[in-house]
Symmetry: C2
Subunit: 305 residues, 2 copies
C-alpha cells in the first residue's frame, strides 16, 4: 500500500492529503437543511449532512490528489450513524481511486490492539463468513503502550498489504510536554522514531516500509531531524494551513527525490469557501472553492520541493 | 460521578468492575446461532450475539458490583452495527444502576479531542436539538499528546459531572518500553502521574477528583508508588486474573480506607463458564458462571483490603 501511495503521489505531482474532518458547522446551511428534511434534526440527519458534504469535496478534488485522511472523531461524535458516514466516506474515496488514511490514533494492549487492527485495516470472522468493518488503507496509531500494542497492526499490514503511521511528534502546542522530554540525552520522540524503524523492518519492498510516522508541520527543525532519523519511514505531516505551518517550513520533510512525506490540510481545504480568497465561489459552490484551495496548496508546495 | 462510583463501591463492598470485552468466540454457540437465525452471519448478527451475551452477564452480576468497563475495540471490529451494541450495552448497564467506564483510550489534538469528549462523555448539537452519542460515565484517555489533548475532556467532565482515567502505567508486557524510561531520574509514567494531579485540580468535591489513572495490576511495586504519588486520583487497575495479577499484588493500590482503586477483570468473569472451576454451570448457564466468578473475585479481594 505504501508503494501505491507513492505511485499516486508521483502521478498527481501532489504530496498532499485532504483531511476530511467535517464539523457539522462546516456544512453549508442548504446542505444541512436538505439532510434534516430527510432525517430530521437527528444524529442520522447530521451524519447524512457530513456524508453529502464529503461526497461533494471528494468529487471536486479526487483527480488532483493521492489520498484523503478522514478523522474518525468527527464521525464518532454522531454515534453509530456517524460511523456509517465514516464508512461511506472511506468506501467512496476508494471507489474514486484515493488512498485512505484513517486518522484513528488507536492503541491498546495486544489482544485489544488486534481488534482495532481488524476493525480498521483487517477482517473479522462471523460464523463462516468474513467482513471488513471500516477497511481503510492506512491507520494512525498511538505508541504509548509499546511494541505489543503495535505488533497486531504489523501482522494485519503484512496480511492485507496495508500500512500505519505511528505518532512520533504531533503538531499541537503541548506535544512537547511528554514527547520532547529527554531520555538518555534524546527526546522521547526520537526513541519512538527508533522503534518506528524497528517495527518497519521487513514490512515493505521498496525504500519505504509499511510503518510511517506522524511528524507535525509546526516543528520544522524536528521534521528535518526525523527525515534523517527514519530513512525508511514515510512521514504524514499535519499542521499545514490552519495550524500555522507554511510551505517554507516543509522542505526538509521530503527526501532528495521530493518524496517521503505527505502533507495534510483539513480546514484549509474543506472550509475554503469561508475564506476571503475563495469567497467568490459562495457556499453553494463549496466544492469548487475546495478545488481551488487544493490547486493553490499544490502550487505552494511545488515552490519548495 | 467519581463520588457516585465511590458510593457504589461502598454499598456493594466490591471495588471491582467487570470488563465487557466480548470476542465473538466467547459467546456460547447457542447464543450465536440464535443471533445468526435473526440476522444471518452478518456484522449485525455478530453485534446481536455480543449484545445478548452482555445482557445476560449484566443481569447476572449487576447487584454485586459498582461498575462495568466495556472495551470499545471489541465492538468497533463489527463496524457501525458493533457500535450500536456498544451503545446498548452502555445504556442498559446504566439502567441497571451500574457506573460505566468506556475503555476507549482516545486522545488527539485539542479540537479533535473535543469531538471525542463530546462523543463519549458529552453532547453534540444537531440543528436546534442536542444528543449524546455514547454517554458513558467515564472514559479512558491516552496522554501522549499532552495537556491540550486532555483539556477538552476536563471541560466536558465539569459540565456533565463525568470523569476520565488517564493511561499512566499500562498492564501489558511492553508497557515499559516508553513508560519506564527515565526523565530527570524518574520514569515517564511518574511525569504523567504528576500531570494527572494537575489536570485533576478543581474537578472534584471530595478526596478524589474527576481525573483518575490507569495503573496495571501486573506491576505491584508501581501501584504502591502511584497510590502515593497521586493521592487524589482514583486508580483503574486492569490485569487481575487472565493477565496474571493476584489479590496479593493489589493491596497497596488501595488507600487506608480500602478505597482509591477499582480492579478490573474481563475474561476471568465473562468467560468463567469455560474454566474448569465453573464448568459445572455449562455454556447454557454462562451468566451463573460469571456470577460465581464475580463472588469469588470479591471474596479474593476481601482477603487483602
Amino acid at each position: 500500500m505504501i508503494n501505491r501511495l507513492i505511485e499516486k503521489i508521483q502521478k498527481t505531482g501532489a504530496p498532499i492529503c485532504v483531511g476530511l474532518d467535517p464539523m457539522l458547522s462546516y456544512v453549508p446551511d442548504f446542505l444541512q437543511k436538505k439532510a434534516f428534511d430527510m432525517h430530521g434534526e437527528t444524529l442520522e440527519g447530521a451524519a447524512e449532512a457530513i456524508w453529502q458534504f464529503n461526497k461533494t469535496i471528494i468529487d471536486s478534488v479526487y483527480d488532483l490528489i493521492p489520498a484523503v485522511k478522514p478523522q474518525v472523531a468527527m464521525y464518532e461524535q454522531f454515534g453509530p450513524a456517524g460511523l456509517v458516514a465514516y464508512r461511506r466516506t472511506v468506501s467512496y474515496s476508494k471507489e474514486k481511486g484515493l488512498v485512505v488514511i484513517g486518522d484513528v490514533k488507536r492503541g491498546d494492549i495486544g489482544s485489544t490492539s488486534a481488534a482495532y487492527a481488524d476493525a480498521h485495516l483487517g477482517k473479522v470472522k462471523v460464523g463462516s463468513r468474513t467482513y471488513s468493518a471500516f477497511d481503510e488503507d492506512f491507520a494512525t496509531v498511538n505508541p504509548y503502550l509499546g511494541t505489543d500494542g503495535i505488533e497486531p497492526f504489523l501482522k494485519v499490514c503484512r496480511e492485507e498489504n496495508k500500512g500505519i503511521f505511528v505518532l512520533v511528534k504531533t503538531s499541537n502546542p503541548s506535544s512537547g510536554e511528554f514527547q520532547d522530554r529527554l531520555i538518555d540525552g534524546k527526546p522521547l520522540y526520537e526513541h519512538v522514531a527508533q522503534k518506528v524503524n524497528e517495527w518497519g523492518e521487513g514490512t515493505g519492498n521498496g525504500l519505504y516500509t509499511a510503518v510511517g510516522a506522524v511528524v507535525g508541520a509546526t516543528y520544522p527543525e524536528v521534521g528535518r531531524k526525523m527525515r534523517a532519523a527514519m530513512p525508511n519511514a514515510f512521514l504524514l505531516v499535519p499542521g499545514y494551513g490552519a495550524q500555522g505551518a507554511t510551505a517554507g517550513d516543509l522542505k526538509d520533510y521530503f527526501d532528495r527525490d521530493g518524496l517521503g512525506a505527505i502533507i495534510n490540510s483539513s480546514r484549509g481545504i474543506i472550509c475554503a469557501y469561508r475564506k476571503d480568497e475563495y469567497a467568490k465561489y459562495g457556499a453553494a459552490n463549496f466544492g469548487e472553492a475546495s478545488r481551488a484551495a487544493t490547486l493553490d496548496m499544490i502550487a505552494d508546495l511545488k515552490k519548495v520541493i
